[in-house]
Amino acid sequence: MGNANSYYSQADQQIIDNLRQPDGSRRKGEDELFSVYAYFIQEGVRKYKITEEDAFDAYSDSVLAAIEKIANGSFEGRSSLKTWLFQIFQNKCVDLLRKKTTNKNSIHNTVSVGDMLFQLSDGAKSIVQQLVDKADINLLRQRIEALGEKCRELLLLSADGFSDKEIAARQQYKSADVVKTSRLRCLDKLRQLYKQA
């Protein structure tokens, strides 16, 4: 954590350090990373001849992908933060244009489960995928809202990639085990609320 690297500046290093903290510094790091390179949006408008709105979406998605990679340690720091982020942004712009030209950007009200299902074997994956496709996502969203602040926060942090140990430190739980028990209770509560419908 926080290793000095010749490719990125002290300011980049500060952002990276903040993003790797389990406490409130992470949010600061997220906002800083977005702000510092926000001018890419206008670059995207010029270079790819896309609207400012589309460029904003591509840039936001790029920053979110970068945050996840930095936070989980898969950013290796082989280039400056700017070069790396710009590369991700360019790829997102290309994806966006490809979707537009092939008219595949219609909105589906389903969840993207690729990452989680990736670890399942083909047979199991296909069964789970079919069941996920049948889920009522709007209802699930409503039930998440009805969960209560504490439960929602706990599940949000977990879905965001924080470990139980990090959540315990951040939210002042006694231990990672307490976090895990509370988290699974919240998930069970959510399931009961969902099934009540």
Binding site: A38, Q42, K49, Q119, V128, L190, Y194
Partner: protein
Amino acid sequence: MTDPEYIDSFFKKELPAEATRQFEQRIESDPAFAEDAAFYVSAMQTIKEQSTEQKKQRFREIYNESKYHHNNVIRMPQTRWWPKLAVAAVIAFLLVGSYWYLKPVSPSQLATTYLKEELTQLQVEMDNREDSMKTGSRLYNQKEYSASLKVFENLAQSDSSNTEAKEFAGIVSLQMEQYDKALKYFEALENYPGLQINPGKFYKAVTLMKRNHPGDNALAKQLLTEVDRQGLAGKEKAKEWLKKF
């Protein structure tokens, strides 16, 4: 939920290899268990999406406040003493604005403005490696067009797959008002197969609009229509210009 801890451990990759295999077998043989696993996946992904939406909302607020957002202008303090003057100024502004908006603009003027606003600088990647593309771009940005063109032409000749060199050679030629040369490069770019983003046709239209020879505008209009219909790079601008043709 039948066994939330077991399901959670699997998706957090905490199970050993043998237990992972058993988990997958159980999904295939036990429908209730498969349903629980699917609920876990749906719930966690939906929560993650909500988290992403919240962050995007925050980013939107930051961006709207930033100097990069096109709507951001410096707001003057309210002049309560001069309401009538302010109203008069707004009316005058609207009148002048609508005159300029409605005033017909020639395709050549549109192309000149585009060149001035969009193509005076080429992107130079900020990493530690120096290569000819960067050298050519830097020369262009310093307005040393002849030297820049030489660099890009050499690159395009030595590697026919270097489409960016073709694109930049065309842009420099256009900037130097060497329209025939620019058209040659943009045509080569347009006909290059398999490119995900190909601005060749759009740049060809810009070049014809700028050259303004008899028949150029009609051909440019046809190209812009194709760019718009086929959703090619430059589509938004093409659509905007077609309304003004």
